[in-house]
């Protein structure tokens, strides 16, 4: 029943996000030696039972406060999708954080939030927030990865989007909110091998993890966790 206490924790919405972050870090030279302590412990609501996770549980005051009060915590990050509206998501995040961090800043910087706060015992803790894809635009993890599509593949990416729009006209049942998702999974369907998962696509260089567009996010992680 013993638990390895990890001082650096990143909270995400679900299992899929864990692997994307791990692969992005690896491809940027921050390697995880499996079997050793992870560089960052990445968890989501329901993590130990492999539950579905989800934004509603993640963005609860007491959920965040519980992690902040975890024994030995020195850095805690929150990675969440903007979905329809990044600024509305930020207000929701801020509201959830204010219970344990009354001093949370008003504004979310374009480069992600990193600030020093305290747990209820008075320990200094670095706290960070990143709203996918870029703290400004609507969207999600998929929209962030789209920016990492290699330059030479731009025509294929444009074509994928056109095909999805066409499919919608022909009665494809996905909702408008999932248009971005449909785009990227169509794109993934035409790679080698077809139908890779997002994190596998990073390994296979279907996305270019070192592209300048990913560096702002990587730098947020470096800053928050002193990597």
């Amino acid at each position: 029943m013993a638990r390895n206490i990890h001082p650096k924790v990143l909270l995400v919405e679900g299992d899929r996000d864990i692997w994307v972050v791990v692969r992005l870090l690896e491809k940027n030279g921050i390697t995880w030696e499996w079997g050793n302590e992870p560089i960052i412990q990445i968890e989501y609501p329901g993590y130990p039972q492999k539950d579905r996770g989800g934004k509603d549980k993640l963005l609860k005051s007491k959920f965040i406060a519980s992690y902040l009060n975890q024994r030995g915590c020195v850095a805690l990050g929150l990675l969440v999708d903007a979905d329809e509206d990044a600024s509305r998501r930020w207000q929701q995040v801020r509201e959830a954080c204010r219970f344990s961090m009354p001093n949370i800043p008003n504004e979310l910087p374009e480069t992600g939030l990193v600030f020093t706060t305290q747990n209820s015992g008075g320990d200094a803790i670095k706290f960070g927030v990143w709203i996918m894809p870029d703290n400004r635009m609507r969207g999600m993890m998929e929209n962030f990865l789209v920016k990492l599509i290699p330059e030479g593949m731009a025509p294929l990416w444009t074509y994928a989007q056109e095909v999805v729009t066409e499919a919608k006209i022909l009665g494809a049942p996905f909702t408008d909110a999932h248009q971005d998702k449909a785009n990227i999974h169509s794109w993934l369907a035409w790679q080698d091998p077809p139908g890779l998962e997002l994190h596998q696509a990073i390994i296979k260089q279907v996305f270019s993890p070192q592209k300048a567009e990913s560096q702002i996010f990587i730098n947020w992680l470096r800053d928050l966790y002193d990597l």
Binding site: M1, Y47, Q49, N69, S120
Partner: protein
């Protein structure tokens, strides 16, 4: 009920505060983090009737006394360790204060001061008391002071208690259950106090958590009986045994549970302080222990502060919160860390999240 507690210059705490206390408060933290000291602080604060026997009990419990050629069957109590950094000079003080549910403050300041009493001669030591230890309680607009004479032995400030410490703490507003509490004499006396009372049912309910086949329990009142061992003094009748057996033939758990439930029923409308609450109990009994405690603390209006080192102990408490749907302020976990100004708090909702997420609270 105490809502918050503040401690200054007491034992390992220079300044320390616990906020948002509930009805059940579980103190966790490393060895030597000061969990027991917090129980002691509450105990002293609530001695405001001026009866200082609990002070001597806690010094005894820690072995903070010395024997001297002039001890005469009663040790000299070394009071220096009560102070932060073990330092006692004139005007050195420690203080403990609390705010209760109705926002009233109660405080205790304990001060070393020059002794001006000319009758403070101690014939055993052939010494006048140079100092006294002044206990100054304040609540609402009342103030009360109690002083004990201090003497020097081997450069230490000591004091002596003349009378024997009686069993049970019925005059105090807090009962302290430490290891020494579980003596045969204490348990027999408390059992006799509650047998044939409505509380007796609770005693059986708790003992059957450990031993479902327990039928009856009775103290051994043989005129030849002398409490010479750690456990004993009771005989137990079990379903599958033709003859009663001595309680000592059973495991440690039944003895601890008997002590715990007797302390609970003896704490009506008061504060119960329990050091190492799950000691001697198997993990599969801890949940039922908490359930019984929760029921009893509500019924008898008891506030409880307990310490533990075990994961099973706090996770079982979280399980109780979840299954009984207990309000967030009623049950708390406080992590005590040396050198910090505050405890790290997990309220009822947070402790359930922590248990489900595998967050380490201790």
């Amino acid at each position: 009920m105490l809502k918050s507690l503040k401690i200054e210059n007491f034992r390992s705490f220079q300044s320390f505060e616990l906020k948002q206390l509930g009805r059940i408060n579980l103190l966790v933290g490393e060895n030597n983090s000061g969990k027991t000291s917090i129980l002691e602080a509450i105990q002293l604060l609530l001695c405001d009737s001026g009866d200082l026997k609990p002070l001597f009990e806690l010094l005894l419990d820690r072995g903070e006394y010395l024997w001297h050629e002039n001890s005469q069957n009663s040790p000299w109590f070394d009071i220096e360790h009560l102070f932060y950094n073990h330092a006692t000079t004139v005007n050195q003080y420690f203080s403990i204060s609390s705010i209760n549910q109705t926002d009233h403050t109660k405080s205790l300041k304990v001060l070393v001061q020059p002794n001006e009493d000319t009758n403070s001669y101690n014939s055993l030591l052939n010494q006048m008391s140079g100092y006294n230890l002044s206990f100054q309680w304040q609540k609402y607009h009342q103030a009360y002071e109690q002083m004990i004479d201090l003497f020097h032995i081997n450069n230490r400030l000591v004091t002596q208690l003349k009378q024997k410490i009686p069993i049970g703490n019925s005059n105090h507003k807090a009962n302290f259950v430490s290891n020494n509490y579980f003596s045969i004499e204490t348990l027999v006396e408390l059992f006799d106090r509650y047998v044939l009372h409505p509380e007796e049912a609770l005693i059986y309910e708790s003992l059957r958590i450990i031993e479902p086949g327990l039928q009856r329990i009775a103290p051994n009142h043989s005129r030849y009986f002398q409490p010479v061992s750690y456990r004993g003094g009771f005989n137990v009748l079990l379903d599958d045994q033709p003859q009663p057996i001595p309680i000592g033939s059973m495991g440690e758990g039944i003895w601890r549970m008997l002590g715990l439930v007797l302390a609970l029923v003896d704490t009506k409308d008061k504060v119960l302080l329990v050091d190492d609450i799950d000691a001697g109990l198997h993990f599969n009994t801890i949940y039922r222990m908490w359930k019984l405690i929760w029921k009893t603390t509500q019924k008898f209006n008891i506030q409880i502060f307990a310490t533990t080192h075990s994961r099973d102990c706090w996770e079982s408490l979280a399980e109780l919160v979840e299954s009984e749907n207990i309000d967030e302020g009623e049950i708390t976990i406080h992590r005590i860390e040396p050198g910090k100004p505050n405890s790290v708090l997990f309220d009822s909702e947070m402790m359930v999240i922590a248990a489900n997420q595998g967050i380490e609270v201790r």
